[in-house]
Symmetry: C2
Subunit: 632 residues, 2 copies
């Protein structure tokens, strides 16, 4: 389509501006009403952006409100999620929620109109409320629109000025410019006041503009209460297909309520009833104006999912030494046959092996460079558009750097797939800064998470394929070094399962590991067998969910004697997962030795470090013997 023939750029009449002003007044009145009724919320942060949103909603957002999942709809993300009164007032203005729901249920228990928006509402793409995340997520949506869907929808983001202090906002603009996302517009509501006093730059619009331009975006400074200027800026925002736009709107916090306008101390506070009553009256009182958004042009995404695509996973011989990160690379490359599979990496694709996917399907690989927050945010945004998106990096950086983004992906209940390579002390010489040793604890605690840790190549490949069909946040931890293939190519690895080795009726002890420690447990079992001790080994490849039934059965079989070995700190990891699964009103008898990384590791060879951490076969064997001596 020709962007110059857009259905939103016709000249506007004075009458139309009057209507936009009336709509803005209603948005203000409704923002005040719902938050005053709730007794909490952020009306002043809503009032500052009401004029911006009035014009956007009525003239620029191309959206079929009857079909929120229409592929051609524009996207609107409130990065300043605390302005939810304004967002919900917009929903009322287009008729998708009613006055009673807005005014009487906002922030109430059981209402979908929560304090900060979540995708429980069909018009919300991602949960916001942790500042500095909406714009990064929107970059992912716009990436999908431009490079995958190849649809002309536009992604609009309402941002706060306070959140421009988050580095993630600059990661987002950097990537938006790098990827020439002309389909992305950020509207910064520069209302000068944060939660606790003035922002760094207050109303120094040029400072913002200088930064925005330096980061490669088109900067437009406007008076955010001038409807004509807003209309013009929103029109211009669509005009450059190769560059993102940032509209810097100078606004007044609390605009429309003279008692609180531009005053500190009113962030996150409902307007008191008496002040609210006067302000509502001055704004024209409650109204029932309805507006419509322009409809998007018809279109179809360039990529159609094909769940029946023929996937041929790589095969390995049992005993062959293969790194699970290499198995990830091979498996994800096989999955490239599914047209909706997308991979993103943080400039370490040559180490994670994600680079192999790039070679196979370059049009569906996105390099995020060293910016793990944007790596996850892009993955979230691409997933919002329905793609099966995987993100990979070193586990230490993939999980801990963007942990707040992962947490919020849980709140969004969006489906993303994470592959963290180079986990644990096993990485060796690079030392502790590169060793993920807290990732399992962190990831297990995330809402919707699945946590996997494969010991060999075939299980990795099978689990990667399974992840592509798994909803929520799935995380696979992969190992740097090469270890023997344990399983045949047709072995199945259902999520929530485990693999039991050497089970027999006389097992005196069970050795539980995952990933690299499975190999140590198997070696220990051989050592114990030589001493006449039958040890069962459990490959706990699925850490969350976890096969509680098999664990309980194992306790009953071994008299509760269990050694757990994990390449992770002792807290919250595999040991905790096992204990949580067993703990119940009827917890079995337990005699446990828990081997995990204690203290700060150093550089060394993987074998030296596994041994120094006390999680090598030698230590597992000794622990098993100790348990058996205690309970012969």
């Amino acid at each position: 389509m020709n962007p110059n023939q857009s259905n939103t750029t016709e000249p506007n009449s004075p009458d139309q501006y009057a209507a936009l002003g009336a709509l803005a007044a209603q948005l203000r009145v409704d923002s005040i009403r719902c938050s005053t009724r709730a007794g909490s919320g952020h009306p002043t942060s809503s009032l500052s952006a009401a004029d911006l949103m009035s014009v956007l909603l009525s003239r620029h957002l191309r959206y079929d409100w009857d079909q929120p999942s229409l592929a051609t709809n524009d996207h609107l993300i409130f990065s300043k999620g605390h302005a939810s009164p304004l967002l919900y007032s917009m929903y009322r203005a287009v008729g998708v929620i009613g006055e009673d729901e807005l005014v009487n249920t906002y922030r109430q228990f059981g209402s979908r109109l929560q304090g900060h928006p979540t995708p429980i509402l069909p018009w919300v793409d991602v949960a916001t409320g942790s500042l500095g995340q909406g714009l990064p997520d929107a970059v992912g949506v716009a990436l999908a629109g431009k490079y995958l869907d190849k649809l002309p929808f536009h992604t609009w983001v309402l941002c706060g000025d306070s959140e421009m202090a988050e580095g993630s906002m600059w990661e987002a603009l950097d990537k938006a410019a790098y990827y020439k996302l002309g389909n992305l517009t950020a509207i910064i509501d520069v209302n000068r006041l944060g939660q606790d006093g003035p922002t760094e730059f207050e109303w120094d619009m040029n400072r913002y503009a200088q930064r925005v331009k330096a980061f490669g975006a088109h900067a437009i400074i406007i008076d955010g209460h001038d409807l004509t200027a807003i209309d013009d800026a929103l029109t211009r925002a669509r005009s450059n297909p190769e560059q993102p736009t940032v509209i810097l709107a100078k606004t007044i916090k609390g605009k429309g309520v003279p008692e609180v306008e531009n005053k500190n101390g009113w962030h996150g506070k409902a307007i008191p009833a008496d002040i609210a009553e006067l302000a509502i009256a001055a704004l024209g009182g409650p109204t029932g104006l309805q507006t419509t958004s322009p409809l998007p042009d018809p279109g179809t995404p360039a990529i159609s999912p094909n769940p029946h695509a023929d996937i041929t996973l790589p095969r390995w011989e049992i005993g062959e030494k293969v790194a699970t990160r290499a198995a990830f690379g091979a498996a994800i490359t096989a999955l490239a046959a599914r047209p909706d599979v997308v991979v993103l990496d943080g400039e370490v694709g040559n180490s994670t092996h994600a680079g192999e996917f790039k070679d196979a399907a370059p049009e569906r690989f996105f390099e995020m460079f060293i910016s793990e927050q944007q790596l996850i945010a892009s993955t979230i945004g691409i997933s919002v558009r329905g793609y099966v998106a995987f993100a990979s990096s070193f586990a230490a950086f993939l999980i801990s750097r963007p942990f707040d983004f992962i947490r919020m992906a849980g709140v969004s209940e969006v489906s993303i797939r994470l592959v963290g390579t180079h986990a644990g002390v096993e990485i060796g010489q690079d030392g502790p800064s590169q060793m993920a040793l807290e990732d399992i604890a962190a990831m297990r605690a995330v809402h919707t998470s699945t946590v996997l840790y494969a010991a060999d190549a075939p299980s990795t490949a099978q689990l990667i394929r399974t992840m592509s069909d798994t909803s929520g946040i799935s995380y696979l931890r992969a190992t740097r070094g090469a270890y023997p293939v344990l399983y045949g190519p047709d072995e199945q690895f259902p999520i929530g399962g485990c693999k039991v080795h050497h089970a027999g009726p006389d097992d005196g002890v069970a050795l539980i590991g995952a990933g690299v420690t499975v190999h140590e447990c198997l070696t220990a079992a051989r050592q114990l067998a030589e001493a006449g001790i039958n040890a069962r080994v459990i490959d706990l490849y699925s850490i969350k969910p976890l096969d509680a039934h098999t664990l309980r059965r194992t306790c009953l079989d071994t008299g509760g004697r269990i050694v757990i070995a994990e390449d992770h700190y002792p807290q919250g990891g595999i040991g905790a997962a096992v204990l949580e699964a067993l703990a119940s009103p009827d917890t079995p008898e337990l005699h446990i030795k828990h081997l995990a990384v204690k203290g700060l590791p150093t550089s060394g060879t993987p074998a030296e470090l596994l041994d120094a951490a006390g999680i090598s076969a030698r230590h597992i064997t000794a622990a098993a013997r100790e348990l058996l001596q205690g309970n012969p």
Copy 2:
């Protein structure tokens, strides 16, 4: 002192430049030797910066190498920690490590010369290796120098170009400019190549300069191999006391080894022995040049710690309703009497109550605005200078947003104090984006961490004072709402302890909570008592370390019947901490009901949400009854 009379700005002679060139050659040779000998490491990333560091070390870094803890020493932080071969070669050149240690122990098990630098070396301030952290940490060091120490030391940071994609680098520059840190210089080694291909901007030096200037720093573009230009830039870096400087040095990755110069595919790889041998010869072979750094002028920090300062903690009446976040504010304000206590907040000081400290000691309060990564990094840097630094924000943002910085603070083994308010579903109406529900799991797994969660105001105040004397990373989780004071003002709360309520010889069950759930447990115990059931309540204010002895004793006393209630997701939190502590070769008999937040919370009142999450008194009572019915 007059910066124009610096001892490093005298004119330099051609002979001196020749010496600097020879030193640079030695740094290159040594960087190659140690990494080739180790068989791994990042020589090419070291070679690009050798000229920069030769000039800095010999002429601009004011450092008494015999006294690394001298308060007046400059600081040198390798934000690109992977260039450790270069850093260690510099240490050899000033004579603090020997040739044998450098060449023969680098990256070996047991060596202090690890793959990435850590403060196990007395000249290293902070561990680096997770990119985008050294510069943020340095901002903290420079903040301390300018505003606390009031000493003229300079903080120099060697940064990589790849890491400029991390938003945290821009958070750092933003705060450096905001706080007018003329005592901070970042040297960006723009060698064009990342780990996996060219960087975003390659050698587009103006793009970098534009961004740096927009963020308020003084930008100087130089040829990073021109010794005269380097010398001039480093001189100018000290000339502006009110503005940080960023030297953008165009360099060649692998400079000095023609086979790898400016070639992709050589990141993080040792130079093969044959190529290394030729390159070392061409560089002049191994040499034993020694250099000295200019000495700093004498000086004394403006602040002296006073461990005997009179601290009068606030007092409350038992039964009075006080929010623990308010108790934090009161306690930290009392601690302001200690001259080395410093507080930082992320623009929510009016909610965390850190703002009260700001009122009491504004010169020791630093507003970090909405940039939690820089909040933690500044806290780390200020702690490096010996101050007792506390950082506060909402728990959800304080822990999850900068989790990688907290992880790295663990690797640094630096002491920082974190206070996260507004934890759990208890926060109510704001909804799930604001609820920390995974912070305990994440924080427990961090090396050196102490995790505390106080139930009332006096315990909060006591623990805050204890944190000021606690090494490592200590984290106190605080609650939004006001709850009754449980303890008298003189009650003690040692780390690793717990408080037992209602213990008796006939206790049929123990109810374990922390923070807000202690109050629910106490209510449940009263309900159970009315039904004739004796329930013991444990206030587990110290979650890590944890009082395993009391827990074990409790199990023996109650027949192992335990209800655990926590305002956190079920994985890795308080329940896991209890189970980990009890699991042993001799685990006691256990009958456990674990109540935790399952699923995604919504908005609502705190009471509604605690009940909906299944962690209110009603649910605790029911769980206890169920255990007792199962095991009468």
